[in-house]
Symmetry: C2
Subunit: 348 residues, 2 copies
């Protein structure tokens, strides 16, 4: 006689999440072992403890966390699960650290389909595996129908910083170059198009990607010359550069003509009254680099598949107002402020 | 001229969270610096990077994560914020590790009061400070009205395990004692009473507490004799012991008469048709301890303010069925299964 013999099988194909799957009882144990452990498969989760242990060498670690509330959950180029894993990896990688371990907290609305949850969990497992990181801790809560919107995921990651590296938003210096890894706005416009049912001949796909190997190649090429790296998500490149300007107490001067934007993205932005520089990205990074390292770093970016369209888009300049300014395609110079209000809610 | 001069002031007293506060722009930056940084105040958050760095010595670390979706958000003995911090500290402490750093991901419903958010954030800061841990990373997302239920918090923690310590759910051995740190069911019954407006002469207060110093005292007294520690939350002591039984491939035999339950909690449980052994706790732990260390560990528990009602409630026994059994107050012996269904939704 086995305890397992008493259990109702998890009907992944047709079943839905019930409140009991978040109650800490047998149903939850079944959901976790039958769905999440299979998707994330690693030795840590199999231990069924409330925490997972791992060995560290002495050094500098980083920790980062992000909530993912994107709507819709599935979009061209990914889903909430792959987005969460890659986004967390990127936040770690932007410090020059090697991503090591992730944790995932699921808040699920009652009635959510097991089949969707399985698809999402499997893309999380695949995205983690592709980047050589492990999801070693997790939690599942279920709330009543109408008290959440399908699925929210909060993801935390830790990583190990290479010796001597110390990238930070307050380290930019006047004269530094601004290097961008590729075209702006793909993620935001892909989500918006999907949400508004705006269709084009060419489907716009999210740029969702894990940037750790690109970042590592840049660090290898530029070493101490790299002052700051950021992946411009919510708020776009405008918010990322304004934050660095504030922290480093200087201004930035960009050349609009140098900023890559895909034609379909530019067209959609014009249609929707958006500017690509304010639109979210999920697979791009901007680096502030000392002038004498800029060429080497840019070359390393262009040599990487995720940086083939990298460009030097401007420089840091002295500015008591800490403004981000841009010389436009028409030759004028204007301030690129970060937005106050809401442009694209629930973009990540 | 200062950029700050343009900003609308954050009206913490009367204001409410808007979608713009999760959009990555100026409003979000203001919420984070004006409310969260003040409440959590530490050097890491001031850096405004997407990740926080810290030095580690070589050794064994643990990582844990939990989502908090408790309803109501405020209850006798705490609120969602203090609960999240203490709950995460406890998950770390149950491995015998010293809690070090926490991260917090907030998912907020549009329209949530700033004043409530401030109260919650301040109790998080206070609970972290009291335990000597730091909230070094955070994230804020806002979803539209009706797409969440006020506030959800996901919290992740990491800690450092003392050399040579390796507690795990699969380490219990036949003959081990089962030590419980205090009375069962306080948290679950406090929440249920508040939700159902069940009032008693004596108010039932959640036992929400950080158990790291109790756990440390036990480890100091029992060392290698402690096999497993668990804080029995959702699913209660029944779920915790059943999970250990499964992992360690043995059974447990408890003495109901030895299990402390407060009279008001016992009365409410009877009224609501619940059993204290299935009800959630937020400030209790159960330890499986080798017989020759049990007396020393129990003495250390009783000497600690959070363990003054600690008791030896039973033992691990050989059982191919991996059942948890209990000799009841009436002398019969029955199986304590973990529940399948939902008893008290959104208890944590």
């Amino acid at each position: 006689m086995s305890v397992k013999a008493y259990q109702r099988k998890l009907d992944v194909e047709n079943g839905r999440v019930e409140l009991s799957h978040g109650a800490g009882g047998r149903a939850m144990a079944q959901l976790i072992s039958g769905l999440f452990h299979q998707a994330f498969g690693n030795e840590w989760l199999a231990g069924s403890n409330d925490q997972s242990a791992f060995d560290v060498t002495a050094g500098r670690m980083v920790m980062t966390t992000d909530g993912y509330v994107i709507s819709p959950l599935f979009f061209p180029g990914g889903n909430i699960g792959s987005l969460a894993v890659r986004g967390t990896i990127n936040d770690i990688a932007m410090s020059g650290a090697r991503p090591l371990y992730l944790s995932a907290s699921f808040i699920i609305e009652e009635g959510f389909r097991f089949s969707d949850l399985k698809t999402i969990a499997e893309s999380m497992g695949a995205a983690a595996c592709a980047a050589g990181v492990y999801i070693i801790a997790g939690d599942t809560k279920v709330v009543e129908r109408g008290k959440a919107d399908g699925l929210f995921i909060s993801m935390t990651g830790i990583g190990l910083v290479a010796d001597g590296l110390d990238l930070s938003a307050d380290k930019a210096k006047v004269g530094d170059r601004v290097l961008l890894s590729g075209s702006l706005g793909d993620h935001g416009v892909a989500i918006m198009s999907k949400r508004q049912n705006v269709a084009f001949q060419t489907e716009i796909v999210s740029d969702s990607a894990a940037l750790h190997s690109l970042a590592a190649a840049m660090v290898a090429a530029g070493g101490g010359g790299i002052r700051v790296m950021r992946d411009p998500k919510r708020g776009g490149l405008a918010a990322a550069l304004n934050e660095i300007a504030l922290q480093s107490e200087l201004g930035f001067h960009l050349q609009e003509s140098m900023i890559p934007v895909k034609p379909a993205v530019a067209a959609t932005c014009e249609l929707l009254g958006l500017e690509p520089i304010h639109v979210a990205n999920e697979g791009k990074l901007v680096a502030i680099v000392a002038p004498d390292s800029a060429d080497a770093v840019l070359a390393a970016m262009k040599a990487h598949p995720l940086g083939s369209n990298a460009a030097d888009i401007g420089e840091a300049e002295a500015d008591d107002h800490k403004f981000v300014q841009m010389t436009t395609d028409f030759g004028g110079r204007r301030i690129v402020d970060w937005l106050w209000g809401e442009q694209l809610p629930r973009i990540c």
